[in-house]
Amino acid sequence: MSDVLRSVILGIIQGLTEFLPVSSSGHLELAKVIMGDTSVAEQSLFLTIMLHVATALSTIFIFRKDVWEIIRGLFNKPYNESQAFAINIIISMIPAALVGFFMEPVIEVLFDRQIALVGTMLIVTAVLLFLADRSKATDKKVGPAAALIIGLSQAIAIMPGISRSGATIATSVMLGVDRYNAARFSFLMVVPLILGKIAYDMISGEFSVASDEVIPVTAGFIAAFFTGALACKWMIALVRKAKLKYFAYYCLAVGLGAIAYAFII
């Protein structure tokens, strides 16, 4: 497979799995075991960073009006909704930042090729999505306490098999947050984390670019941006219409399949 095509496919996968509630890390673990290919997860750090930037940009692109309003509101004097939203985003980042800093290596080792565990986590994702669809529609917004709980669910979603977007949106909706606000908060809360991680990686200087990587990485970046924008819009529509159950069926099927595979092999 040509490097350009491979990067475009990786970009499309990143664009879809960043927003759709299917757990990209869980699928990656399953692919590693089923395909017996250790190189599945091995893409250059630089490509990984670029694809994450692309999906962060697609989030900003879709919510550009909201982001613009938040930025403008931050500089206004009386305490307003934008400042409250920004504070809630910061609160929601704390649990994932702590887990990422102290526990991520431990979690990675614990879950490496443990497909029964990944399968179980996929079933947990399915249950969360079912519950999200069944929650009543409200017009409540995210408050500080809800932000912390949503942040905790994001931290738990670091485990392969639990979808970050699925867990955070389901938690928000179950806490009574309006569906659109739940999706908006879920997608925007991860942008500062991604950009912070990228800034850290850039400063650490641990990556390099091979001479044949420029065109494939650029192609993957563009593919991830446009796929991410489409997936983000699609996911917002699905959350609003309470149609997450289709992803729940999918996660349930894959989860059960993974557990069955773990016991057969």
């Binding site: 900003i60 850039m202 001479s211």
Partner: protein, 110 residues
């Protein structure tokens, strides 16, 4: 019956009025919504062009980041790996490219 019919007629007439008023209101509100939606941060060709410039700057940063390998296994030259071009200029250009993308997203086309 006839009284009822008359009443019904009156109701129907006033209904038409209210319907047309509601329709007018709906059309106006739809127009307002469209106007509101189209006013701030419309994404047009100008934005795409700026995005393309951002992609070119990022690609330029990547090109500048290339290299760093030793000409032979017996040679060790730190300046090749940690050169100003690879460690400062290239990441700076890539970050500038990202910022251009953000500018392209928020640029208003009024």
């Amino acid at each position: 019956m006839s009284k009822q019919k008359k009443v019904v007629k009156k109701v129907v007439v006033s209904g038409k009025d209210s319907q047309s008023k509601t329709r007018t209101k709906a059309t106006v509100s739809k127009r307002n919504q469209r106007a509101e939606a189209s006013e701030p941060l419309v994404f047009g060709w100008a934005n795409y062009r700026i995005m393309l410039v951002g992609v070119v700057v990022i690609a330029l940063g990547m090109i500048l980041m290339m290299g760093g390998s030793m000409p032979s296994p017996d040679v060790w030259d730190e300046s090749l790996i940690y050169s100003f071009r690879r460690t400062v200029l290239a990441p700076f250009l890539i970050v500038v490219g990202f910022l251009i993308e953000v500018y392209a997203i928020f640029k208003n086309n009024d």
